[in-house]
Amino acid sequence: MSKTSRSLARGVSLIGAGMSKFGSFPEKSSRDLFVEAFLEMRSSVDREFDPRDIEALYIGNFSSDLFEGQAHTAPIMADAVGMIPRPAVRVEDACASSGVALREGILAVASGLYDIVLVGGIEMMTNLPTSEVTDTLAAAGDVLYEIPVGFTFPGFYAAMATAYFDRYGASPEDLMRVALKNHANGALNDKAQFGVSIPDWMEKRKASAQRKGKPVPDWTDEWDFLTDDRANPMIAWPLRLFDCSPITDGASAALLVADEIAGSFTDHPIRIIGTGQASDYPLHDREDLTSIQAARLAGQQAYQMAGVGPEDIQLAEVHDCFTIAELIACEDLGFFEPGNAFQAVAEGTTDRDGNIPINTSGGLKSKGHPVGASGIGQTVEIFKQLRGLGGERQIPGQPTLGLSHNVGATGQTCAVHIYRREK
């Protein structure tokens, strides 16, 4: 029998978070990037602490095996940050790997077994050519029934987009607004892989053509640019290049402690007041192709545990692996009624100064999507915003309540977390 409401045996606080730069790093490996993330996490902890006090590591990673030829990656990451002989566990749930690693770390502290746990994520994707990356990511689909008929990850989300368009009357332009917003946010994030706004991107392309003595494209504005097949080629109709998150190398890290000791690390702990996780069927087996059941259920669990509702959330990082996914996420989490998210984006409701800022980091779209690192990458942004460390992209009003939403594959896994700054 499943319980309707659950609580943690003891409270867990987030006291530090950091990430490597996201991008393409041919001269680095995932352990180098994890060290970068770890060092930024360590410097984000207000008071001096001894890293040897960390008792365990939970590391999210989709496929170091296929991307780097390296299996059994958890103890290697533990070694890289000086944690041997502490236990190290790799968590694999496709693109939700580190969202679930975060949850496993929370559960480990809540159980009373550990007081201080490191969680993180890694992925090193750019070593392979695009076709092999496509094949590797496809391994997160159903390789018996979905992949053999030619589905790709952009293809799955494109199919969801056709169902969404058909039901709600949205259009490719509505998806492009998500990309425009997220790139505008990412332009203010020095960790972002493509931290440039789309209008600036267009101007750079023009300038580059001019410099090389090539014909200068005559795009009149960003809409002209985004609907040009050469500038923004079709990947899987109706999704174009700028509807897709990039192929990325990156790592993320966060430090969790039991609430009762949080005060010895910082005066401003962020309590993780809600955690939820659920699973779902492959896409074709779902009753509704315009929503992700695992996200709805994980969200409900997290809200229930936290004792808050979607109307209370002040900012969220949601899993925008594709532009359509951000619209669906916002509806699954209850920020908008089903079918209303695309209008809310058009009205600016999800902008940094809107009612519910979404993906202030630039999201996976602009910041980059090193799949196993993305979930805790979202945690890093929530940490920064709740601590007032958002710099130029800091949202107004000193937010105290944030949410992260991390999806694996087409939604077979979803992990949702709710964070509250207490003081």
């Binding site: 695009t130 076709s131 092999e132 496509t134 094949d135 496809a138 159903d142 018996l144 029934y145 979905e146 992949i147 053999p148 008929v149 030619g150 589905f151 790709t152 952009p154 293809g155 494109a158 199919a159 969801m160 056709t162 169902a163 058909d166 080629p233 079709m234 990947i235 899987a236 109709w237 109706p238 999704l239 492959p282 896409l283 074709h284 087996d285 779902r286 192709l289």
Partner: protein, 142 residues
Amino acid sequence: MTEHNRPFTAHSFEKYLEEGKLMASRCPRCQEIYLPVRSICPICLETGLEWVECSGQGRLAAFTAVHIGPTFMNEEGFGRDNPYLTGIVELEEGVRISARLLGLDPGRPDQIELGLPVQVEIIQLGPEEDRKPQLAFKAVNA
């Protein structure tokens, strides 16, 4: 093997495709039909499921035209400028399955409407010495 004692595996499903049949599994207790095939009914946990042949008639539930495909489809000659259509079909038996789509123009996906009636058409892919069946549906009026 006769139809009644083949295991409920993807391998059996593929063998049936080679024989030109689109087969699903059915729970004798609740009569629910499963495609992809299952050996345990998730509703009543019945394990004595049975094979049932689908009519092959269905309607288009969602689709895409893939321009950047996996290696095995690139080897079939598809690519950036030669996309293929794939999608999800809802069979008249009420189950949905992923499948290639034929008889429609992959260059004009904006002309394709959901709900379009389709009929199963099993095709063969791969090199001559290693042909494999691929589940596809063809637009009925095409």
